[in-house]
C-alpha cells in the first residue's frame, strides 16, 4: 500500500505531498520524504553511475526505513517524485508503472495555464487522479 507520494521541486522544496494513511504519521512521512532527498542527491551526483543509466528516470528503492520503503523518480526537468510504501515486496515494474502514470498526471497538472511553475500544486483534479493511481497500485489494474 502506498502511504505517501510527494513532488519535490528544484530547490528541494515540497510542491505536493499527500499521505494516504489512517494512522497519524503524516509528520513522520514528511521526515522520510525529506531525508530521501539525500539519497537522490547521492544517486544523481554519483560519478560511478554508468552512462546508460543517465537517461533513466526511475531511481529505484531509495532506502528502507522502519517499515516503509521509499522509491524515487527524477523527471527530465529535475523534479523529484517520491513514493513511500509499506509493501514488503514491490516489483520494480510496478513501481515504474506507478511513476509513469504519476508523471503523466503531473505533466497534465503543470500544463494548466493557470499554474505557475515552481509553485505548489493545488489542483484538486490532480489530487483525485493521484488518489486513483495510488489505489490501483499493485492491484494489477492498468488504467
Amino acid at each position: 500500500m502506498i502511504v505517501c507520494v510527494a513532488v519535490v521541486g528544484h530547490q528541494n522544496n515540497p510542491l505536493y505531498l499527500q499521505s494516504f494513511t489512517e494512522a497519524d504519521d503524516a509528520l513522520k512521512l514528511h521526515h522520510i520524504v525529506h531525508c530521501s532527498l539525500d539519497v537522490i542527491d547521492e544517486r544523481v551526483n554519483n560519478p560511478k553511475r554508468s552512462a546508460p543509466t543517465l537517461n533513466e528516470t526511475f531511481l529505484g528503492l531509495l532506502y528502507p526505513t522502519e517499515n516503509y520503503k521509499v522509491y524515487g523518480y527524477l523527471t527530465n526537468t529535475k523534479v523529484k517524485f517520491i513514493m513511500v510504501t509499506t509493501d514488503l515486496d514491490v516489483k520494480d515494474a510496478d513501481a515504474r508503472n506507478f511513476f509513469r502514470k504519476f508523471h503523466a498526471a503531473y505533466v497534465d497538472a503543470v500544463s494548466n495555464p493557470f499554474h505557475v511553475p515552481g509553485k505548489k500544486i493545488a489542483s484538486r483534479s490532480f489530487g483525485a487522479r493521484v488518489s486513483t493511481i495510488v489505489k490501483s497500485f499493485g492491484s494489477g489494474i492498468t488504467s
Binding site: G9, Q11, N12, N13, P14, L15, Y16, L17, Q18, S19, D24, D25, A26, L27, K28, H30, H31, H34, C35, L37, D38, V39, E42, R43, N46, K48, R49, S50, T53, F58, L59, G60, L61, L62, Y63, P64, T65, E66, N67, Y71, G72, L88, D92, V116, G118, K119, K120, A122
Partner: protein
C-alpha cells in the same frame, strides 16, 4: 555488542587438557596457543584434579521417559565447551616415573586409570606423554608398550618429550601439537556427527531440542573452522525458531516470545559475524533484512511492547557496530544501480549510521511504549507489587524466581503478569534518553561526514526531541534552531512547524518571552501545507507540542502572543516567572534575512529619484504581514538617516498620547485605522520635506503593536525586494507594494537631495583664439543674483582639450619653462586697493592650476578678475573655472558650500610663419667647390661665396584671423658674427609699423656679405616685433618679440667667378654685345674651356668653343656680339664655362640668361634708365 558474553563474540577455540608435570605446563600452553589455529590448554597440575573433567550432571536414567526440555539453549553450554570440556587429555609422566621404581609404576598406572574413568563416556581422546631429560635416555620398548596397553591408545598417541635439548624439545613439542590438532579435529567431528545424526533421524521429542542440536552442530563446526557448515546449521536453527513462535506452548506467551527472541538474537549474531568476517557484506545485509522482517511484527502484547522495541533496537545497534568494526565497503562487483532489480540494496544500508539512526528510532519507540505501559501498570502493580528475587535462569532468555524455604532454595517459574511487572520495573530504572541521544549523535556525525545533511538534520532533530523530553531545554533549543535553518531554506513548512512548536515550548521553559514571541509569530505566519490540514489528527506526541498545522491553530498562536503581551494568564505553560521575564516593551528586529520577514515587511519607495532641498517629496510606506488574523498597529514610526525627516503615524482610534515625544518628529494623525490584513499590503503615502542635500535613505519602520511589542523592520526598496522565503511557493495572488506598478518595480528607499541652485553668475569671456607668445587675458566676472557670496574661492584649471590632462609632454616635465600653456597670473580690478587684505587670503597659481579667494559679495554685487595665460606652443586648451562659496559666514553655513562651474575652450595659434631664402648676385656665378664635392649628399646647408653680396629674403606670413601690426624685422647677428659678415637691411618697415592682414605676407630683404671663411657660420636670428592690430592703439606696450634662428651657412672662397654682362634689353635686329668675365682669384694658372650653343633667336659672332688660360689674380673676358631675331623675353645662347682644374662646369641660370627684346626702340629715355638699372644690377 559489548553486552554479549565473550564466548559468543569470539570464534570458538579447541580445548585440550594436560595433567601432571606442572613445571612444563606454561611452555606447553604457550606453544599450543601460538599455533595456527590456536588451541587453549586446560592445565591440571596433578592427577587428583582430573575429576573435574568428569561429567558433572546427574547420570540420566536411560529407562526413564525423556523429560521435555525446559528451555532452548543453556546459557553456559558454550562456555563449558570452551573452558571445561577438552577435546583431548594428555597425561604427562617423567620417564623415570615409569621405568625404575615399581611403586612409582603402580602409581602411574592408577593415575592413568583415574584419568580414563574421568573421561569415560565422552569422546575425549587420551594422549600419553613421556618426558625424558635427554634423547639418549633410551626407554625400554616394553615400558612404552605396557604404558600404551594401560592407556589403551595407539602408538602415535604416545609422545616422547625431550626436555633438556632445545632442538629435540621443539621437535617433540611439534609432534605433540600435531597429535593434539588431529585429535581435536576428530573429537569435534565426532561430536558434530553424533548430534547431526540425531537431527537427521528426527530423534527428538521437541522443537527446542532441534534448535539446540542445530546450535551445537554449528558450534562444533566452528571449532573445526568449517564455516559453511556452521552457517548452514545456524540458518536452519533460525528457521525452526521462527516456526516455533506460533506452536510452542511450553511457556506463557510473553516469556515464550522473550526466550525465542533472545535465542534468535544469538543465532543472528553468529550468522552476521560469520558472513561479515568472510567478507560477504551483501549476504549479511540481505540476511539482516530477512531477520528484521521476520521479527518486526512480533511485538507481543502492548504491555510488553517495550521489550520488543528494546530488542529490536539492539538488533540494529549490534549490526551497525558489526559493520563498523569490520569496516565494510561496498563491493566493486555490486551493480551501482542501487535499489533496482539489479541490486536490491541501497547505499545507506552499507553505512553504520543508518543502523544507528534506526536503533535510536526504535529505542525511542521503546521509551514511548514504557510510558504507555507504566501508566497502565500503575494501577495493577500497586495490588500485586513487583515480584522479588527474580533472576535469569540457566536457559537463554528465561527468568525464574528463587524461592527460599528454610535452607532449601528452589526455583519457581514466573507467571506472565509477574514477569511483565518485573521487566517493567527493570526497564524503568534505565534512562533511555541519553542512550538515544548518543545513538542519534553517532548517526548525525556519520551522516554529516557523508554529506547527507538532511539525514543528519533528522538525527539532530531526534536528539533535540530527546533533550526536550529529558528536560534539557537549552540543548534542545540549540539543536532545534540548527535544524530549523535547513527546513526554512528548503521550504519544508510542516517540519519547520514541528520544530518551531518545540522551540516555542523551550523558550517558555527557559523564560525567554522574546524568543517565545518571535517563534510564535513565525509559526503563525507559516504557509500551510494543504495536504496535512485535517483537524482531527491531534496527537501531541506525533506532531510535537505545536499541534497540527492548521489555520485555526495559527490563529490561536497569534492570539496567544497577544495574550502574553497583554499579560493575560494564558491557558497553558506560562507561569509567573515567565511573565516576570517580560520586559516593558519587547523589540523584534527584522532584517532581510530574518525568518520573521513573513511576519512583517516594510517596503519604502520615494516617488522621485532626486529632489531639490527643502521641497516637499512623497514617500510610500507599504506594510505586509502573513499573520492569519488582522494586526492592529498602534503607531508607525518611519526612520531616515536624516533624523529631521522621521515621522510617526498614529492610528486614529488610538487616543493615548505618543509613547516617546521626540520633538523633531512630525506627528501625523491618520484618519483611517492602521490594520494589517493577511497578505494585503497596507499602503501609506506621506509627504515630507526633504532635508539637507545628499542621500536621504529610509532605514527602518517601527511598528508598535499592542503597546508592548515593537517590530523594527529594515526598510526595503520595492525594486530590490526579494521573495518571501516560504511563501514564494504558495499559490496566491502576488500583490505589489504600491499601486503604481512602475514604482513597485523600480522604487527605491533612498533619494538624492540635490544641492540648492546657485544664484551667482560666473562669466568667462575670451576674444577669440590666443596667439603664441602673447599674454592672453580672459576676463572672469562673478555676479551675484540672489546669493551673497561668503568665503568664495575661485579655482582655475587648464586642461589639454584633446585629453591627457597634462599641458606638458612627459619628457619635458622637469623643465618648468617647457609648459606649453601657462597660467601666469590673475589680476583683479581692485588689486591696488585691497592688496594688503589679499595678502593673507588664498592665492596659489601654479602653471595650470590656480586658486584665488573671492571677497565677500553681497546680493547684487559683482567682482571680476583677469586670468593671464601664455601659450608657448599652439595648443587647444580647456579652461575650467569653478566658484565655490557658502551662503553665510557662520560655521554651520560654511559647511554647506555651493558650486558654480564654467568652462571655455581656447585655441592657441602661431601668429606669424617666418620663412627665408638666399639669392646669389645677379649674373655672377662664383664656383663653390663644396657644391661640387657634396654632389648627391643630403647636406642641405646653404653655401655662400665670400666677399660676394648675397641676398636674404625673409617672409613673415600672418596665420591668424586677425590683422597684426609688424613693428620691426631685424636680423641680430650672433656673437662675433658682426665682424665676419655684414648684414644690411635693404628694404624694411617705413612708417612705424606695417599692418599684415590675415593670410598676407610681409617680406624683408637683406644683403649678406661674408668676409671670412667658415663652414658653420651662424648668421644670427630674425627678430620680429609684432602686436595685435588694435584700432584704439592703446596696446603699444604689448609689442611681442618673436625670434627665429636662421640656419647655419657655410662661407667659402670661390676660385673662379663667372660674371656675365648683358644690356638690360635688346631691340629686334640691332646687335649688342655680351661679355663673359671669368676672374681667377687663385694664385694658380687656370685652364678653362667654354662653349656657346646656337640659339634660334639670335645670330652671333665668335667661336662656338674656346679654351683659355687665366693667369693668377687676373680676369679673362670673352666677348660675343649678338643680333636678336625674335622679340619678347628671349633665352640667350647657352654659355658653359668649364674649369679643367676643378672639372666643374658653370652655366648661368635661366633667369640670368634671359633678355627682353623689344620689337622697336621703346619710347622712354633710355639714357637715364639704362644708367640706373646698371647700378642696381651691379
Amino acid at each position: 555488542m559489548e553486552d554479549y558474553p565473550e564466548e559468543l563474540r569470539t570464534p570458538p577455540v579447541s580445548l585440550v587438557s594436560i595433567v601432571g608435570c606442572p613445571e612444563l605446563h606454561p611452555s606447553i600452553s604457550a606453544a599450543l596457543s601460538s599455533q595456527q589455529p590456536p588451541m587453549n590448554t586446560l592445565a591440571l597440575p596433578d592427577f587428583a584434579k582430573a575429576s573435574i573433567l568428569a561429567r558433572s550432571g546427574k547420570p540420566r536414567d536411560p529407562l526413564a521417559p525423556p523429560q521435555p526440555p525446559a528451555g532452548i539453549l543453556k546459557k553456559d553450554w558454550l562456555l563449558k565447551h570452551r573452558t571445561r570440556v577438552p577435546a583431548a587429555v594428555a597425561a604427562l609422566f617423567r620417564a623415570d616415573q615409569v621405568s625404575g621404581d615399581p611403586a612409582q609404576w603402580l602409581q602411574a598406572c592408577s593415575d592413568l586409570e583415574n584419568l580414563k574413568s574421568a573421561i569415560q563416556g565422552k569422546n575425549t581422546k587420551l594422549v600419553v606423554v613421556l618426558v625424558q631429560a635427554q634423547a639418549s635416555d633410551e626407554l625400554s620398548e616394553d615400558v612404552t608398550v605396557a604404558l600404551r596397553k594401560r592407556a589403551e591408545i595407539d602408538s602415535k598417541n604416545l609422545v616422547v618429550l625431550i626436555e633438556h635439548d632445545e632442538a629435540e624439545w621443539n621437535r617433540s613439542l611439534n609432534k605433540l601439537k600435531n597429535v593434539f590438532a588431529e585429535l581435536c579435529a576428530a573429537f569435534y567431528k565426532e561430536e558434530g556427527r553424533r548430534i547431526k545424526a540425531r537431527i537427521e533421524k528426527r530423534n527428538f521429542a521437541s522443537v527446542e531440542l532441534s534448535i539446540r542440536y542445530c546450535f551445537k552442530v554449528a558450534i562444533y563446526a566452528e571449532f573445526r573452522r568449517d564455516w559453511p557448515e556452521a552457517l548452514k546449521f545456524y540458518e536452519e536453527g533460525v528457521r525452526v525458531l521462527r516456526e516455533m513462535i506460533g506452536t510452542s506452548t511450553r511457556l506463557p506467551p510473553t516469556q515464550r516470545l522473550v526466550e525465542i527472541k533472545a535465542v534468535a538474537e544469538q543465532f543472528h549474531f553468529k550468522i552476521s559475524t560469520l558472513l561479515l568476517h568472510a567478507g560477504k557484506v551483501v549476504e549479511a545485509i540481505t540476511w539482516f533484512r530477512k531477520h528484521i522482517r521476520s521479527y518486526e511484527r512480533v511485538v507481543g502484547t502492548p504491555e510488553v511492547a517495550f521489550l520488543h522495541w528494546e530488542w529490536f533496537s539492539r538488533q540494529f545497534l549490534v549490526f551497525g557496530e558489526l559493520i563498523e568494526t569490520t569496516s565494510t565497503t561496498i563491493p566493486d562487483t555490486l551493480s551501482p544501480r542501487f535499489g533496482t532489480a539489479d541490486n536490491a540494496l541501497t547505499e545507506w544500508e552499507f553505512q553504520p549510521a543508518y543502523y544507528y539512526q534506526l536503533a535510536a528510532t526504535y529505542l525511542r519507540e521503546k521509551r514511548y511504549a514504557i510510558e504507555c505501559s507504566s501508566s497502565m501498570a500503575n494501577l495493577t502493580t500497586e495490588v500485586n507489587g513487583v515480584p522479588e528475587s527474580v533472576m535469569p535462569s540457566v536457559y537463554v532468555g528465561q527468568y525464574v524466581r528463587l524461592f527460599e524455604q528454610g535452607d532449601t532454595v528452589s526455583v519457581l517459574p514466573l507467571s506472565d503478569t509477574e514477569y511483565t511487572s518485573y521487566a517493567l520495573s527493570e526497564a524503568e530504572r534505565f534512562q533511555d534518553s541519553y542512550e538515544i541521544i548518543a545513538l542519534f549523535r553517532k548517526a548525525y556525525e556519520s551522516f554529516q561526514s557523508l554529506g547527507a545533511t538532511r539525514m543528519a538534520s533528522a538525527c539532530s532533530g531526534g536528539m533535540a526531541i530527546e533533550y526536550y523530553a529529558a528536560g534539557d531545554f537549552s540543548n534542545a533549543k540549540q539543536l532545534f534552531d540548527s535544524v530549523a535553518g535547513l527546513y526554512r531554506q528548503e521550504g519544508w513548512t510542516t517540519l519547520l512547524w514541528e520544530n518551531l512548536g518545540y522551540l516555542r515550548e523551550c523558550s517558555i521553559k527557559l523564560n525567554s518571552p522574546k524568543d517565545f514571541i518571535s517563534y510564535s509569530l513565525e509559526m503563525a505566519a507559516l504557509p500551510l501545507f494543504s495536504g496535512s490540514g485535517e483537524e482531527n489528527r491531534e496527537n501531541k506526541i506525533k506532531s510535537g507540542p505545536a499541534g497540527s498545522p492548521t489555520i485555526s491553530r495559527r490563529e490561536n498562536i497569534q492570539q496567544e502572543v497577544i495574550n502574553v503581551l497583554e499579560r493575560k494568564q494564558s491557558s497553558e505553560g506560562t507561569d509567573d516567572e515567565f511573565n516576570n521575564a517580560m520586559e516593558e516593551v519587547t523589540r523584534l528586529d527584522i532584517d532581510q534575512i530574518s525568518p520573521l520577514r513573513m511576519v512583517l515587511i516594510a517596503s519604502v519607495a520615494f516617488h522621485d529619484q532626486s529632489v531639490k532641498p527643502g521641497s516637499p517629496l512623497l514617500v510610500s510606506v507599504s506594510l505586509l504581514s502573513h499573520l492569519p488574523s488582522p494586526v492592529v498597529v498602534d503607531q508607525l514610526e518611519v526612520q531616515f538617516n536624516q533624523s529631521d525627516c522621521n515621522f510617526v503615524i498614529h492610528s486614529a482610534q488610538e487616543d493615548s498620547p505618543p509613547l516617546d515625544s521626540n520633538l523633531h518628529d512630525q506627528i501625523v494623525q491618520d484618519t483611517s485605522s492602521l490594520t494589517l490584513f493577511t497578505n494585503r499590503w497596507m499602503r501609506l503615502t506621506h509627504e515630507l520635506k526633504s532635508g539637507q542635500s545628499g542621500k536621504l535613505e529610509c532605514l527602518s519602520v517601527k511598528a508598535t503593536i499592542n503597546k508592548h511589542l515593537v517590530i523594527c523592520c529594515h526598510a526595503e526598496s520595492p525594486a530590490s525586494m526579494e521573495d518571501f522565503p516560504l511563501w514564494k511557493f504558495e499559490n496566491q495572488v502576488e500583490t505589489l507594494p504600491t499601486k503604481d506598478t512602475a514604482l513597485a518595480f523600480s522604487g527605491q528607499k533612498l533619494i538624492q537631495v540635490e544641492e540648492p541652485d546657485a544664484q551667482v553668475d560666473l562669466v568667462l569671456n575670451s576674444a577669440g583664439p590666443a596667439l603664441v607668445g602673447e599674454l592672453f587675458t580672459v576676463p572672469v566676472t562673478i555676479e551675484s543674483k540672489g546669493h551673497a557670496v561668503h568665503s568664495g574661492e575661485l579655482k582655475i584649471n587648464l586642461v589639454d582639450a584633446r585629453g591627457g590632462g597634462l599641458l606638458l609632454s612627459p619628457r619635458e616635465a622637469e623643465d618648468s619653462e617647457s609648459h606649453h600653456v601657462e597660467l601666469l597670473g590673475v589680476s583683479t580690478a581692485s588689486e591696488d586697493k585691497e592688496s594688503k587684505e589679499e595678502a593673507d587670503s588664498i592665492r596659489k597659481i601654479q602653471y595650470s592650476f590656480g586658486v584665488i579667494s573671492v571677497p565677500t559679495l553681497s546680493v547684487g554685487d559683482s567682482w571680476s578678475c583677469k586670468l593671464e595665460i601664455k601659450w608657448h606652443r599652439a595648443k587647444s586648451v580647456m579652461l575650467y573655472v569653478s566658484l565655490g562659496y557658502s551662503l553665510g559666514s557662520s560655521e554651520e553655513e560654511a559647511l554647506h558650500r555651493l558650486n558654480v562651474h564654467r568652462s571655455l575652450q581656447i585655441e592657441g595659434q602661431i601668429p606669424l610663419l617666418i620663412s627665408h631664402q638666399f639669392l646669389r648676385p645677379f649674373r655672377r656665378e662664383p664656383l663653390l667647390l663644396s657644391g661640387i664635392r657634396s654632389l648627391g649628399s643630403d647636406d642641405k646647408k646653404c653655401s655662400l661665396a665670400m666677399n660676394e653680396s648675397n641676398m636674404l629674403i625673409v617672409t613673415a606670413r600672418n596665420c591668424t584671423d586677425v590683422p597684426l601690426c609688424l613693428h620691426s624685422m631685424t636680423i641680430q647677428p650672433d656673437g662675433d658674427g658682426e665682424q665676419l659678415c655684414s648684414v644690411q637691411q635693404i628694404s624694411g618697415i617705413s612708417s612705424g609699423h606695417a599692418v599684415v592682414a590675415p593670410s598676407e605676407e610681409y617680406k624683408g630683404i637683406f644683403s649678406v656679405n661674408p668676409r671670412a671663411i667658415s663652414t658653420n657660420f651662424n648668421l644670427g636670428e630674425i627678430c620680429l616685433n609684432w602686436s595685435r592690430e588694435s584700432s584704439l592703439g592703446e596696446d603699444q606696450d604689448r609689442v611681442i618679440i618673436m625670434k627665429e634662428q636662421l640656419p647655419e651657412v657655410s662661407i667659402e672662397e670661390s676660385p673662379l667667378v663667372v660674371g656675365m654682362e648683358c644690356p638690360p634689353y635688346a631691340i629686334l635686329g640691332i646687335p649688342f654685345t655680351i661679355y663673359v668675365k671669368i676672374h681667377n682669384s687663385t694664385s694658380l694658372l687656370q685652364e678653362i674651356k667654354y662653349s656657346l650653343v646656337d640659339s634660334q633667336n639670335f645670330v652671333f659672332s665668335g667661336a662656338h668653343n674656346h679654351a683659355a688660360f687665366i693667369l693668377p689674380k687676373s680676369e679673362h673676358t670673352v666677348r660675343h656680339k649678338l643680333v636678336p631675331l625674335g622679340s619678347g623675353s628671349q633665352q640667350l645662347p647657352k654659355i658653359t664655362v668649364t674649369s679643367v682644374r676643378y672639372s666643374a662646369a658653370l652655366t648661368p641660370s635661366a633667369s640670368a640668361a634671359t633678355v627682353f627684346v623689344y620689337p622697336s626702340e621703346p619710347k622712354f629715355n633710355l639714357e637715364t634708365n639704362h644708367s640706373t638699372s646698371d647700378e642696381i644690377v651691379s
